[in-house]
Symmetry: C2
Subunit: 383 residues, 2 copies
Amino acid sequence: MAMTVPPKPPHGLAGIGKESLPTPSLIVDEECLNSNIKRMADFFADGKARLRPHAKSHKCSALALRQLEAGAIGVTVATIEEAEAMVAGGIRDILIANLVVNEFWVKRLLGLAAKSDVKVAVDSVQNACQLSRATQGTGTTVGVLVEVNVGMNRCGVDPGEPACDLAQLVSSLPGLQFRGLMGYEGHAVGIEDRRARAKQCERSMDLLTSTAELARSRGLSVEIVSGGGTGTYDTTGRYPGITEVQAGSYALMDLQYRRVTSDFRCALRILATVLSRPTRHRAVIDAGLKSMSTEFGLPEVCNQEGVVLDDLSEEHGILRVGEGHPLAPGDLVELLPSHSCTTVALHPILYVLGASQVVEVWEVDGRTIDPCMSNGSIGPSCA
Amino acid sequence: MAMTVPPKPPHGLAGIGKESLPTPSLIVDEECLNSNIKRMADFFADGKARLRPHAKSHKCSALALRQLEAGAIGVTVATIEEAEAMVAGGIRDILIANLVVNEFWVKRLLGLAAKSDVKVAVDSVQNACQLSRATQGTGTTVGVLVEVNVGMNRCGVDPGEPACDLAQLVSSLPGLQFRGLMGYEGHAVGIEDRRARAKQCERSMDLLTSTAELARSRGLSVEIVSGGGTGTYDTTGRYPGITEVQAGSYALMDLQYRRVTSDFRCALRILATVLSRPTRHRAVIDAGLKSMSTEFGLPEVCNQEGVVLDDLSEEHGILRVGEGHPLAPGDLVELLPSHSCTTVALHPILYVLGASQVVEVWEVDGRTIDPCMSNGSIGPSCA
């Protein structure tokens, strides 16, 4: 489902060694990334369910294209900006697994719908009517999934009758095309015990698939039933009635998900430079809160034995250094992020590393930018 | 110290009302911002010390220019990217209150030094020699402040003899010009009790100024002695021997600093749209961890009585809504950030609001971007 887009000229930093990169920056181990992508693709190779990876984790159309090449049917995104970047990158089959209510972004959603197969989540009568009204006079149809609350208690309409009532309304509104249901078991994906996680996930998927059955019994065509994350892909991907899985973190991985599953390896690292070695036991790096997120805990140093990240300020990381460790200004320190999704959102570029050099420089093109610039191409688009 | 740069064409979103803005986004109350800038400028009007506001808090050259117009002598920054944006915005007098060790950024520092009066901090013999070597053959001189550890225990050489030894080395190295000392009392700025804060700050400033005296007694010219933050501007700005104050957060303010000082008002808000109202007591907005930082606690809803921010996920904020509150999809929610510096770093734009509309659209031009694009202008600059 990828269109051809003209190739970009090579980036000024392609081909250089890791030690010549600016820091702080994000590096991706290509071998590790490819193996994660392949492992997930292999799981879905039998076609029982299909994989639509969530691009909120990497916000990068170049990475998404690798996922599609391996067999993914399209991408899932959380924002219009991410969707625009994916479409500019040549991907046409997009699920916005989020509600779009802000009027500015509703207009942009219609722009996307005109040139791609975009589906958006809806969980209220009000939002459904708003989207329908917005299509009037545009000749555009927007695909809609009804978001069902499968136990996470964030957004979503209640499963069963309430969800079917909304689906029926969506089906009847001009400019909207009802495509199916989605439900995200965000309360299950992080449970460390594999069995407990699967059990919680199954309860959610039962709510979702039984709602789909009810909708079909009312004569609605439920083409897509979408759920799942990296912690639950193996449950959702085999659950009868689930057609698509939204897992995203598996490609880059992080410490949080490493506690949950050993199926994938950490491909993403924060690259930092030692700025200062003020005492025997303290060193300071040039990466802090503006380069790595901490809501799931501190990142971990992974390339220096006996060196521990102790604290972060805005532009600094404070390291506790073991007795006699030679760490000195200029040395490179690599850290595993605790949460890759929010860490990637802090960076403009992913430097993809082969055995000894940067083999790809990927723009994090789904990143939030001036909304009057289109993601994926520079040029005003405020109308 | 501001040069003339050609005016930009008006932004596509200038002149619109708040309700037409994309969300999540950052809005700045112009009256409040101006009053904060004026209040700080008034404090420094007697010239006892001078104000060099820290731009890491706003990363915005347009905002920095307002601070300069009100009397600030230049800007303080934390990164080369911020410095480049300020220079592109027309500001020539720059203090990088941070160590620059990464070789990629050292090269860019020399580019800056060639076209502006840039000063950088140094805290090690190794870094001093590195910078000196880098200037060789460039014909460029880099101004250097020796960073002194005044009790924060992050970077910085010890006060007294060790700092003076390094200052003497810097003075002797080709390509470097020793300009003075800096020390940041980061362990003092957030102490809520005014007296305890002032006392802790005075201890730090004593270490810094006595080191400056010692350096002068060794025949060194100590032009700049720089310290201070928003919590301590009134102590550092009157402390004998301190020549410059680096306060930055005062312009935009946040919840953390509101607990410390009532001298300034919160000018910055996160603007969000209600996406969903799934239950009587829960609503969900379109702003989450990717739009606001949480290391100093959760932001606070400030425009809706009886509505409390309870939790954040990546793109969502969960609100607890009082009984009977009519909050509905499409409504605007405004939140005060707990930490403006790390919150601004998540956004590309500051929308400056007058009484009823957007009066300025300011690019957060010191934000981290593709390092092969210059901040402040689009165009490759990797050599």
